[in-house]
Point group: D2
Chain length 375, copies 4
Amino acid sequence: MIVKMRKGARPEDIQAVEDKLHELGYQTGKLVGTEIVLIGVYGDVSQLPVGEIQEMAGVDELIRISRAYKRAAQKGDPTDRRYVHFPVGNVMIGEDLVVIAGPCSVESERQIMEAARMVKEAGGHILRGGVHKYRSSPYSGWEGVGADSEESLRRGLEWIVKAGREYDLPVAVEILDHTKIHLYEDVGVDCLQIGEPNSRNTVLLNALRETPLPVIHKRANSLDCEAYLLWTERMMTTGKENIILCERGILGPNKYTRNTMDLGTVAAFYYQLTGLPVAVDASHGTGRRDLVHPMTLAGIMAGASVILVEAHPNPLIAKSDGYQALFPEQLKNLVEAAHIVWDVRRKTDALYQPSVVFEPQYEKRVEADRKRFFG
Amino acid sequence: MIVKMRKGARPEDIQAVEDKLHELGYQTGKLVGTEIVLIGVYGDVSQLPVGEIQEMAGVDELIRISRAYKRAAQKGDPTDRRYVHFPVGNVMIGEDLVVIAGPCSVESERQIMEAARMVKEAGGHILRGGVHKYRSSPYSGWEGVGADSEESLRRGLEWIVKAGREYDLPVAVEILDHTKIHLYEDVGVDCLQIGEPNSRNTVLLNALRETPLPVIHKRANSLDCEAYLLWTERMMTTGKENIILCERGILGPNKYTRNTMDLGTVAAFYYQLTGLPVAVDASHGTGRRDLVHPMTLAGIMAGASVILVEAHPNPLIAKSDGYQALFPEQLKNLVEAAHIVWDVRRKTDALYQPSVVFEPQYEKRVEADRKRFFG
Amino acid sequence: MIVKMRKGARPEDIQAVEDKLHELGYQTGKLVGTEIVLIGVYGDVSQLPVGEIQEMAGVDELIRISRAYKRAAQKGDPTDRRYVHFPVGNVMIGEDLVVIAGPCSVESERQIMEAARMVKEAGGHILRGGVHKYRSSPYSGWEGVGADSEESLRRGLEWIVKAGREYDLPVAVEILDHTKIHLYEDVGVDCLQIGEPNSRNTVLLNALRETPLPVIHKRANSLDCEAYLLWTERMMTTGKENIILCERGILGPNKYTRNTMDLGTVAAFYYQLTGLPVAVDASHGTGRRDLVHPMTLAGIMAGASVILVEAHPNPLIAKSDGYQALFPEQLKNLVEAAHIVWDVRRKTDALYQPSVVFEPQYEKRVEADRKRFFG
Amino acid sequence: MIVKMRKGARPEDIQAVEDKLHELGYQTGKLVGTEIVLIGVYGDVSQLPVGEIQEMAGVDELIRISRAYKRAAQKGDPTDRRYVHFPVGNVMIGEDLVVIAGPCSVESERQIMEAARMVKEAGGHILRGGVHKYRSSPYSGWEGVGADSEESLRRGLEWIVKAGREYDLPVAVEILDHTKIHLYEDVGVDCLQIGEPNSRNTVLLNALRETPLPVIHKRANSLDCEAYLLWTERMMTTGKENIILCERGILGPNKYTRNTMDLGTVAAFYYQLTGLPVAVDASHGTGRRDLVHPMTLAGIMAGASVILVEAHPNPLIAKSDGYQALFPEQLKNLVEAAHIVWDVRRKTDALYQPSVVFEPQYEKRVEADRKRFFG
């Protein structure tokens, strides 16, 4: 943390800030510029009374110089990077490509059973399906088979778990209510999902840090990529690590697509900022069945190792979001294509060189190049 | 709802769509253009199986032509507009200007008592203060006096209610957990607040439609103004009407202010779209104490009848968001200024004429004016 | 400028950066933290070869700590603030409220003459009207009377200048083509306007720094408020100061309004960042005639001293943007209301106190307050 | 176009609108719903006086139902899709993958000559380099070798053309000033580029429709994808077709990357909306050299057939944007990887099936599936 003093701050103001910081137990250093004085605060500043310092006479602003998330980062330098691996049921996340597919919502026992078969036949690894749904309109007439009561929720969860067991697929289900976590665990759900509108739901995130189940944490559509990591970090303060990040579209200028997929953040997460596995959800990211294929593949190319895809045995009668659900044949083709792209990324990753390896050799040439180019 | 058929759709495709709609019990009409056929669907389409229609052969897209929110609108035409009025404690909302002020968080019994006195002395009407707080970082070290347990939550609520009673101020407190609504009611909180990160929390909104307490519903920073009304509408399906809309800043291009206050939406809500009272929260909207004053006043001018302002007996030692809390003297001055602006808006509203009154007279002049201008 | 070294940077890397900076003629200082070393660079860093430093071994990032715009700021500290005043024709900008009004486009000699009378009768000060227009579609069929040739441009300009002279109103006209500046000057236009799509047009901005005419510089809808000042600054490098900033709406989540008016930036500009006069254009900011009234008034309350309003003698036959043009009676009422609000802002400004005056007294009370609140 | 009448519009209002439309030469149709009447307007509505209709008594809003851009679309139905192919120098665009690479700016004759060699050796097809640059700050100290005068501009252009000829690479150079198009043509530039800040520069776009040279049109960072096509369309009204669309990042919530790459729009353009070739510029899209590799590859996967990449013989001494320029070895590796991905996309495209082929078979199963799923 750096405390930047105002131009014209008096020596006694500067002294007062240093005294205050020492009193609070921090060590400091000072940079005296021609116009501005900066005071560096050393050590862990997470408990620093920021507001109080900010208000002291002569203080201009506080500049944070280290990243606020620590556990999500899983690394200091690129060289000591540690990627996290963990199982969802019997499927390992963070190693090979993992396909999570299924309908927007569990609509009946038979429907989810057929959906599970569809996912299995297409080569998917994990079955997804919502039991209690988010809907933006209270008049949609459908909030999931589990919306009405604890019994209906349990029954819906049992249907999807049964379907998953039948086809040897772990199941992932969105959770809306923190008081229901134990129910999900009891019924045998293998993975919980935090939906986009709940991305910053403190109570839910706090409760989830206690569950042993892995969690898919969808990014809120207005969150800066690093701010999002900080919300994820909230679940990790207990040491929990089995979390999948998920990009599903941000707010952008387009009307043609439902959201704007931010694959640059996927690349930043995978190649630079975090060791957590990254998923892409092109179904919500585009909101159009006819764009799910290319955008899922682009997502893998950008760094995703998990893909979330909505698919339905017959999207024409889906009770929600049918327009973005793939037909079974489309899912099959997409999974096949996804594996092709995944294999290719290993080759292209071998060709991806962080710039740092080139710097020393070019640094040595700076003077010669400058002379050659500019005389 | 209009079903737009593709250019080149076959007559049998068009017939099939009409048949399907009739079978579903809808009446239809048809517009046969030179290139495109449109099928109009009459009546209440809230239960229309949109996905299924969208997928039928020859269908291009479905165009919604009426507003999805009904209760929040409180009106059909501007002429039969109905504004909602309701009490928060003994304070009437929707008539005169109402000032809701107080610290970001209740920090101690003494602190909130002094805060209440400050609010009363400044001329505020309702005391606000958070007991369990949202924080974007899990390392902030402060999530409110009520963060740890149900007892601590109850104690924090009791403090602020006691402070409110002492100074005859109803109290408004943010609620994060739907299982705690009864606790808030029991302790005597007068108004509940839904924070911005919870703006689309289905479980919380669903639970709140059962409480008799008024609710301040903050707008999520990425929500289109009409989509926001639809989330508010979720609380109104039971007939609940005592809801205050609140603009507190959206995602925009600026770094200088914490958020971007969208006062155009305040004006659209008050003058056109809804009969619910509209609040502005310039503390979060700007995130800077030094901009709260002008932006609160601008908010009143745009149509707000409720202002939310963070203030603290001594912001220098505030445990959260001190940088956006007003000093007591600033609050006093702002309340005085707010009343001046409020009085002025009555005058300026008398000068505000919806264009509709001018149309007939100008319509009559169209030909003459056209001749005069363009010969 | 601060050079932040990576965690684990070697002493020789740090030394190399310092050597390089000294070699480039800069003085430096150093903050050696527990994990990170910061190197401060003193003096004017506008010529610092940022890229080269950034690439040196061990460098993490460069942190800029002073504002990049200087002339637009017109001030160092709030205390030595200097507001700019200058004339547009015979109208003084930066003192009293100034109303710039007129049709989106000059459509005929007669139309602009009647528009001028309308503006005069309503109490407006400056007449506006476009002669060569921006249109987002090439098929709009109307790009202004001056779109076709230099002669048509000259004729259109002559019409509006004549209309302005007739009613003693200076005229403001948008300029699209830098090669036409002299034509505008010759014909007698009093003020040039840079439209939103041209906000970052380097060639046009560079050319405008040479004209003695005042310029209205509209903000691009995606520009951060401080980045916008930097584009304005481009015109000021010659010492030019007669520039009016103009907020006319940014990109936001709404569909209901054409753009999102960012009045927080108006407040930041007027009360904090710049001494240049600030205008609001609620016609484009809302894109709806029925919201122009409240949002113009809110803009004045936020800090604007100039208002831009589109109005037309008969908006029903306007060739462009008629839906956002006021009827003559509406303009009259708005100007009357605007003056009322302007007068009120003087009163409310007297009640606006920057927090700095309170800090010393509260700083003194910090310990006592802390003891009182937290025991 | 549909004219939506207000709820409660009087029969005479509806009649008046119909009369007006007939008088203007349009045919109409009518949908009389239970609450709302819609009037359909047939034929080419590009000359419809929208404003006048919008203002008529009883009119609520005008709903546009067909796409406004026509030439950019190059197609009516997906089945009669026509992709455009055209040469840039001797390189064919729209068939195989094309790599456009080079430094941000031409800095000296020697530097661009070495850059050309670098591009050739890496397997690039077209050399890029700016001669007169856009810079957001007037204090950057570097606006390109051609910024000062027509002679310096000519000399800079000659350098890059010479370098291109030497290594058999066509050259692409950004143009800022419409009065200089002939100079670019004379010197032998093979392709012109419109930079992002000029994306909506009417004067420049109008002038470019007359040049035989191909044009790269960068998308403005705040433009909806279809609105962007409409600006491109402006250049096509003369029949011009040799235009490359270019996605280079939009305004989004992130601070970590310079912009947010919108690859969903790339997919929508290539697979659905237009027959024009689509380029991705990950150098500006991410603003970070270390993300250019994965995001360029993701862009190809999303549908791009042209990649723009900034690279420099020694980025450490680049005069502008060095932090986003690749080192020569990185460029080589990226081009190699790009070809691998390009080849793979042919395979994955073969697996991409538009949903339409599945609809009839699933439509037939709707009743049976509904019975099976829901009993």
